[in-house]
């Protein structure tokens, strides 16, 4: 399973979202997910199972498959919820999944 954070240059904000996704996965004890980051230009369909972008890029990622849009890329609580939901949706083993 691969989660990919994407921004326009693939350097700053996508890297931060990438590190925060890893942090959230670790917090929740979710394993078996690879996380990476990339720029908009080099991402094609099939580049990852799920793509995470900020709301400002939502219009630019059509056709890239399963996209999760973050309303604010600095809101860790939102990321926590969305990563957890996505992991459950994709059938990744999530500890205490029933408790959510």
């Amino acid at each position: 399973m691969k989660f990919l954070a994407v921004c326009s240059s693939g350097l700053g904000s996508s890297f931060m979202v990438h590190m925060n996704i890893e942090k959230v996965l670790k917090e929740q004890g979710i394993t078996g997910v690879d996380v990476d980051h990339a720029d908009l230009g080099s991402v094609g369909p099939g580049a990852a199972d799920v793509i995470f972008v900020g709301a400002d890029l939502a219009d630019s990622v059509g056709g890239l498959g399963d996209v999760v849009v973050l309303d604010s890329i600095i809101d860790l609580a939102e990321l926590r919820t969305k990563v957890r939901e996505t992991a459950i949706r994709k059938g990744v083993t999530v500890p205490d999944a029933g408790a959510n």
Binding site: S9, G12, D39, L40, G54, A55, D56, D59, L76
Partner: protein
Amino acid sequence: MEGVLSVLLDVFRQPAIIVALISLVGLLLQRKAFSDVLKGTVRTLVGFLVLAAGAGVVVASLDPFGAMFQEAFNVQGVVPNNEAIVGQVLLDYGSAAALIFFFGFIVNVLLAATTHFKYIYLSGHVAFYMAAMIAVILGVAGFPVWGVVLWGALLQGLVTTLSPAIVQPFMRKVTGSNDVALGHTGGAGVALSGLVATLTRGKGTPSKSTEDITFPKGLGFLRDTTVIVALSMAVIYVIVALFAGSAFVETELSDGQNYIVYVVMQAATFSAGVFVILAGVRVVLAEIVPAFKGISERLVKNAIPALDVPITFTFAPNAVLIGFLASFVGGIVGMSVMIFAGTAIVIPGVVAHFMTGAASGVIGNAAGGRRGAVLGAFANGLAITFLPLFLLPVLGDIGLSNSTFSDSDYGVVGILFGQISLAGGQIAVIVAILASLVLVYASSLFVRARARRAGGGDGGDGAGDAPTDADGTRVGETASAR
């Protein structure tokens, strides 16, 4: 014995190896497994070589541009693009730049831990570019390599601590909190935008927010760096080629190939080179930035992460576009002035105007509504056109290249310390760096004393106010979560 020494010296003269070693340290600090350490170190070594290869591609496409520009207008034409210039700089200053980047982060953490400026600069790519520029400035000043690294690291630490600080009074207006800061080399221009917006706000009814306007969508393609660089460069190359004339291009440069086809392909090649450099930078930073983040979270209480410009974009999407357009117009106006003044000509760099112009728009809007967004971003556009012009002469041979650093902080820091070096030599540079350090501690003490006098009351203004307690939802809380 001498043989061994010379081999060792050869090893450490390779910037790729220095960068790989820094990555190795980063991986060990993160206590990664052996296989991850090996993988990450080798990837960084290769990543640096990818970056260097991209620099070659960019230079090959810029050379004909420079020749055409010279033929057409008889002056130097400069394309401000961070990746293009940093790729070239790293070929000569790579080892010093990598070490300044590494030790500069440590200085940043120490300053954040011991002063009121709690900003940890996590935008590794622009920090790396800043380190490259500082390596050039101090190298041109004639410092020995150890001096470049020592003084460069102190300067780098100061810049990465203070750049977020000058934007923070305005960032607080945007985010409504003190949990995140802006960490980008456009900081000075963005702060200028906030200042201009505040000054032009007017006393009567405040200018309405940009977000009350219904604004056309469909400019999403602006966000794809590869596409926008190729398109904008194609426009610029074709215009310059038309002025240079088909005869010149086809006899001197393209070896008979149709001149329009030739320049369009060169523009696309430029974008390809930037693409390759970006890929290299991404690999080089992949192991080291997480290590930095981990260290700062452990060592600095109430750390405020300073992050890349797109963190501002979701707060005011209309201001993003308005800011880009206003900044770009500023760039065109600035370029026109240069044409009449007969100086080297700085062509508006679309990526820089987008990134820093957009952030200036968001900041300007928060400080002064629509009018603030337009005027503030316009001021930023002028700043990032004229600063590169005055930066060129202090960069030595690098200033003769057809590309340069595009954002405001490079201009402010480079021109300041370049001129200090021209005026007073190495001693003046050292004195200026030490004086800046003293000033940082003095202003930190002052802010702390003022905060105490106010009984801990938090007005929310002023660059160094005590960080408010994190509410547990923002990235800023990472420090307290450990």
